[in-house]
Symmetry: C2
Subunit: 338 residues, 2 copies
């Protein structure tokens, strides 16, 4: 089989799915995995079988793919702008699912959502400063939602920093609890307090949260490895790449940014890691070349090397197929940004 | 039509294609555009009609897509490792093209290529330090190629730096001329000296080079804009994105790294630019969010904003369709990394 290709170790995948499902069950938290990580109907079914209550998606397009495959409890954890096209698509989705929920973080969107047959969760900013309203302001948006207001949610994305994997969990719990109390003070009761990123998962506050939405935990990646959230043994997905050159005494692989993604967080030590050469660093990444500095002898020309992408969600979205123990699993919702 | 989507302004595209074709004709250089930028059969046809002698690709998979569409002069400008699968595919490709050429930068690959019915060009490192042999060492590889040795090529990728857009062109000419002379001294004559990146294109040395292989020039992107290689008026492709949030007084768009790509070169001012707001900067990019700081009033919620990707080649590879004056053009070779 040609390289580069994305390969999943089923035993590691299964262990990752089971470990997080067991953890959530033990704490009494609903697990609603974010399927943007894998975009795979096959893989999401394994998550449900292990105990997930439903799925999280980022776009209407992803929701359409998974609803068509029979997933009937879907949360679009994104502050959608509801134009006529999206309103019509959400109405259709609501007709084919048991539960459809959508995020919101503005008064204007809340008013538009209030006219649709969907549950609504207000997004709260817990410190990532991307989207969401500050907890004290949550009522302003929530009161426009109408009787389908179900909860509040947050993405503690500031957990993606070596200093904050623990504190982000506390920030999240504080913000969601404050939002809940502000709403209760205004006579607006909510039953869902949803949070969770993979780095902050272990410090999720089960006294406050009712639900978590991690995505990356199924595969892990070089970011999780370097944040200390996982060990290399927990990495379930790698890019199998061929050594094409030893130019300049370095290792050149055919896995470039068009299969790994170009992500490089400020804390990343390079553009991905080599699973079997933990001391190597990918120092240059272009579309079809990954150039690695490797202490010791270089793997020979033509040999296969396992590359751990920095950010697995973007790597998976670059391919049509995941290879799982020799079988091909379609990346069902690849490219569905719409 | 839903956002985010990649939209091409046909008039700007046509002007970019014409300008570079006219420039090459004037200098007597063969223009062999790199189609990895657009991966579009429709667009490559326009380049041939304007005078391109053939096309450049990065992978066997791309070559297969374009050969199947009738392109009969193809250069795979990459030091392929020739395993049995690739050998068989190259033989098939050679049977359906008028001219098929492949790059090489190692003795081991040269020996494998010498058994195939393909032209060969030896890759020379002109300063980018990615792949390629140093000019003085070129004979060591070239002498193993056999009688299908046709030339030398280089990618002066170190032109992607604000200080080097000019000097990289001189480095390239120097390296290719030295390689040519070394080979001539060893009795190995070559007829093709191929170079060219978009930033260094204007300083290509037509006394040395016979051919140039720019890719990005058809669309341009935020990297070219910030390097000073193009003006914003020359940007032919943008991502049309919807304003979904004004959280924290910033502009949040639905164009994340899953449609723009996560590229951020060291010299980049952010994760892309806004074509109609040149003073804005995209300060945070996640999979489905671009967060921009915008001086002055924010475009309203629900409005459409034109985002210029940092690196257009990676953006195009994320979508199945380009929208060109309302028509849809398939990204024919999307994902063909193999």
């Amino acid at each position: 089989m040609p390289t580069p290709r994305l390969v999943v170790e089923r035993a590691v995948l299964d262990a990752n799915i089971r470990r997080t499902a067991d953890w959530a069950r033990r704490l009494g938290l609903d697990l609603r995995p974010h399927v943007k990580t894998h975009k795979s109907v096959d893989l999401a079914r394994l998550q449900l079988e292990a105990g997930a209550v439903g799925i999280t998606v980022a776009t209407v397009g992803e929701a359409e793919v998974f609803a068509a495959a029979g997933f009937d409890d879907v949360f679009i954890a994104y502050p959608l702008w509801i134009d006529d096209d999206r309103a019509e698509r959400l109405r259709r989705l609501a007709g084919t699912t048991r539960r459809l929920a959508v995020g919101v973080d503005s008064v204007a969107s809340a008013e538009r959502l209030s006219r649709l047959p969907v549950d609504v969760l207000v997004e709260v900013d817990s410190g990532h400063h991307r989207t969401g309203v500050a907890p004290p302001d949550v009522a302003r948006v929530a009161e426009r939602v109408g009787d389908r207001l179900r909860g509040v949610f947050s993405f503690p994305g500031h957990s993606y920093s070596p200093d904050a994997t623990t504190s982000a969990g506390a920030d999240e719990a504080g913000a969601l609890a404050e939002a809940r109390d502000v709403l209760a003070g205004g006579g607006l009761a909510v039953t869902v307090l949803s949070g969770g990123s993979t780095p902050s998962l272990a410090t999720s506050d089960a006294e406050v949260l009712t639900e978590v939405r991690p995505g990356v935990y199924v595969f892990n990646d070089a970011q999780q490895w370097e944040l200390g959230t996982c060990s290399p043994d927990d990495v379930a997905l790698t890019c199998h790449a061929t050594v094409v050159s030893h130019a300049g005494g370095r290792l050149v692989l055919d896995s470039g940014s068009k299969v790994l993604g170009a992500d490089r967080a400020p804390y990343a030590s390079g553009f991905g890691r080599l699973l079997d050469h933990p001391d190597a660093r990918i120092v240059l990444l272009s579309e079809h070349h990954a150039v690695a500095e490797v202490p010791g002898p270089l793997p020979p020309l033509g040999s296969t090397v396992r590359v751990v992408p920095n950010h697995v969600c973007n790597a998976v979205n670059l391919v049509d197929t995941l290879w799982v123990d020799g079988a091909s699993w379609p990346v069902s919702a690849r490219g569905r940004n719409d």
